[in-house]
């Protein structure tokens, strides 16, 4: 689309971990929005498909000193040396230059799963089964997102169907740019405690880029140098320490 070809956005998120209650509505909203099928009978937490997954993490103390935090982990939309892009043998993964969104094209994917081994955030999921919707729910699918077939990788793309809708709306109104309010991912929209702030990081003036630079805001695995565009915020020191720690350290 012309209106994005000219504007260079960098969409990202800031997630306030202190606000997240771990209710899980974001995960369900995500699945409904993006036509992710319910679990196959035998699916487990290691073979399921959850574009957005909330991990409960404990501080490891005993009762009652124990404390927990919920960490929503999605595709971090890496902006630098995006690990999954360079490895894909047939260009099924790419970073959209005009939005910074890391796109995955299931129709191009051959299902080699190299990208999944490359992703340090485990934000990519493989369709181990053919998607199965309970009889009748096919009619309830979101027409803006193509369902994926068995044997391909899939992941969060910031509800790209909603970006399409916003662009169509803008184009119909003869506008170049989309209205910021027209493009909000399902998880952000559905979060009861408004823990997720979404927007264009490139726009210095807006809230998300301000928060991304605020104190007590951090990223996961920043040392890998992949410049993830999902930021996290917590006033709790142990949470920030935990995020900074090496695994098994």
């Amino acid at each position: 689309m012309e209106q994005t070809a000219q504007s260079k956005s960098r969409y990202g998120m800031v997630i306030d971990l202190d606000r997240c209650t771990g209710c899980g509505v974001c995960m369900v909203a995500c699945a409904v929005e993006n036509n992710v099928a319910p679990a196959e009978q035998k699916a487990t937490e290691r073979t399921g498909v959850t574009w957005l997954r909330v991990y409960p993490v404990s501080n490891g103390e005993g009762f009652p000193a124990n404390d927990s935090v919920f960490i929503p982990m999605t595709c971090q939309q890496c902006g630098n040396h995006t690990p999954c892009v360079s490895v894909c043998p047939q260009n099924a993964v790419e970073v959209d230059p005009s939005t910074g969104i890391v796109g995955q094209i299931p129709q191009r994917c051959l299902g080699c799963r190299y990208c999944m081994t490359a992703c340090p955030y485990h934000a990519r999921y493989f369709d181990w089964w053919d998607p199965q919707w309970p009889e009748g729910t096919e009619a309830l699918l979101n027409p803006d997102v193509a369902p994926r077939m068995r044997g391909v990788a899939e992941k969060c793309n910031f509800c790209h169907g909603r970006l399409h809708a916003a662009r169509t709306k803008a184009a119909a109104a003869g506008r170049k740019e989309i209205a910021a309010g027209d493009y909000v991912p399902a998880c952000v929209e559905s979060c009861p405690s408004r823990a997720i702030v979404f927007g264009d990081l490139a726009d210095e003036t807006n809230e998300v880029s301000r928060l991304s630079r605020s104190i007590n805001t951090f990223q996961f695995l920043p040392k890998l140098g992949t410049a993830p565009k999902i930021f996290y915020h917590s006033a709790k020191e142990w949470v920030r320490k935990m995020a900074d720690r090496a695994p098994l350290a």
Partner: protein
């Protein structure tokens, strides 16, 4: 059910494409019109042609939708916003759909048994070499046109 585009777009009626193939308010394209659209003019037979008689008797009066075949149906994974192309980029319908607006009859609808695509998507020639500039609606066609207009595109611009 036969349909004669020429009669509608010809001199005596002089209708344009978007009179029947409309947009909705949110910018999405309605595609082939519903029977309601036909009824606006054909609530009762205007002319005396056989096919109009069929239209009025079998569809308009009982308010039954006509089972049109969609010759340029793209698969579910493709996203093509008519608004952006027709309204913003001001591309003529004919550039992609060809001059069927002036055709007198509907061509035979042919479908590829393996891919399930309408033949118009691949184009008439099995070699994939178009015999007309507007023939074929596969991805390479989109890519070529976009390249000519120097658009730095990403897959997700047109895939969903």
């Amino acid at each position: 059910m036969q349909f004669n585009h020429a009669v509608h777009t010809g001199e005596q009626n002089g209708m344009t494409c978007d009179m029947c193939h409309e947009f909705t308010e949110n910018g999405s394209f309605k595609g082939i019109p519903t029977i309601a659209k036909c009824t606006e003019c054909h609530s009762a037979a205007i002319g005396s042609t056989e096919s109009e008689k069929v239209l009025v008797e079998q569809f308009v009066t009982p308010h039954k939708e006509i089972p049109w075949k969609v010759y340029s149906r793209q698969p579910d994974n493709a996203y093509f916003p008519h608004a952006a192309h027709v309204k913003r980029a001001e591309i003529k319908c004919e550039e992609c759909h060809g001059p069927h607006g002036s055709s007198n009859t509907l061509p035979v609808y042919q479908v590829n048994r393996i891919s399930g695509y309408s033949r118009d998507i691949w184009g008439r020639n099995i070699s994939g070499l178009p015999s007309h500039p507007w023939e074929g609606m596969k991805m390479d066609r989109c890519v070529r046109c976009h390249a000519e207009r120097h658009r730095d595109d990403s897959c997700l611009d047109c895939h969903k």
